[in-house]
Symmetry: C3
Subunit: 162 residues, 3 copies
């Protein structure tokens, strides 16, 4: 088994199935847009193993706690890895994480976005190590997010050619 | 006539003139920043054919409907194409869309950002086809936007060298 | 002395020390993620010369004025240059600014984000000149930002190989 996949399994984690959207909702774009040695990852949500969008839903600082949001950020990381796995065939083709944009659906005075996004960053650094896994990150507060999800993450990743 | 321009004309669409800003407002940056084979598109607004900023203005979910916002997203796509045309000389030089960041000025509980941004995505996929036109997209809610516009879109596009 | 550093000094400006975070807060990522000829800059805050996070804090349009926010945007530019200097060794290695994403922590009806971000853009264009310094910019309003900072800026910069 490939190295990164083996690490995911050894931590008891599972890559979720592709996102299952509500009836009638179709997204006209791919989860991962592979262009040469660059993979652009669409804004992603946390997913349950069956691909359904994972809650809790709502605003961090109101109905969603920082701890719950950090867990959603980690689960969003797994959803992104699942999309990359489908696009690349093998997560070991990832040669470096470039940019990560972490969006938190928060109440107006919320100020702990980094603690939320650490759920994502610690996962990626644990799985890929510091040289490949390090990423330039923003962790910021949005006014609203689709389906009232609490966390959404966009990323750019560098990949080895086949 | 170039292929993409002919398609725009055949759909009865027009590329707007460069943005006309309010008196005294000057933006110290280009609409499109061409760096080698990559074109970075500044956050763009919908424009009327004469380059004036197009309304309706305000928040989606309040004074602006989802349908109006989706139309603004499509018009923003045409404004972006107009900027790319000025920067590249020919839209057929676009070899692939990479990343699209769709920002909706919405009320705090808004949850239909993808339906708004489909106005943009369907235009690009219609004009460029799936291979060139596919893009990694985020569709998210901002707290506020310049001039109270309802939709703003930033993008990165790959271009063929001259 | 290198050219850009000399220009910064000649304008009476100082590159701040690395960010000093509150007790117990550690960010698991670099300020600047250098990948080949591309430098991805993490979301940055204005910093005082000693690296402490610079105020005023809060929302632009409420406790923070447009003029104060424009000054914070300029100071954020210096903080980004400090991070790039540490990552690159020499700011003259910057061959071109690519993308700048300017985030303003603003009240919901705020509409003057470009005036805020001009504090950043004018600094970069003054130091680097138009050919190297031009950048594709978005200037938008967030719902909230970490530590209640008023301005945060993310960027991508192209660099010459060593």
């Amino acid at each position: 088994m490939a190295v990164i996949e083996a690490r995911i399994a050894s931590r008891g984690m599972v890559l979720p199935a592709p996102i299952r959207l509500p009836e009638g909702m179709v997204l006209p774009f791919p989860e991962v847009n592979l262009r040469g040695t660059r993979a652009f990852v669409s804004g992603a949500s946390a997913l349950a193993p069956d691909g359904s969008v994972m809650g809790p839903f709502g605003k961090v600082g109101d109905t969603v706690s920082v701890e719950e949001a950090a867990h959603l950020a980690e689960a969003t990381g797994l959803a992104i890895l699942a999309g990359l796995h489908r696009a690349l065939g093998d997560l070991d083709r990832i040669s470096g994480w470039a940019r990560v944009f972490g969006m938190v659906n928060a109440v107006p005075g919320f100020d702990r976005h980094p603690q939320v996004m650490n759920g994502f960053s610690h996962l990626i650094l644990d799985l890929f190590g510091r040289e490949v896994g390090r990423h330039a990150r923003s962790a910021v507060g949005m006014g609203s997010l689709p389906m009232n999800i609490a966390v959404e993450i966009e990323a750019e990743v560098l990949v080895l050619p086949l």
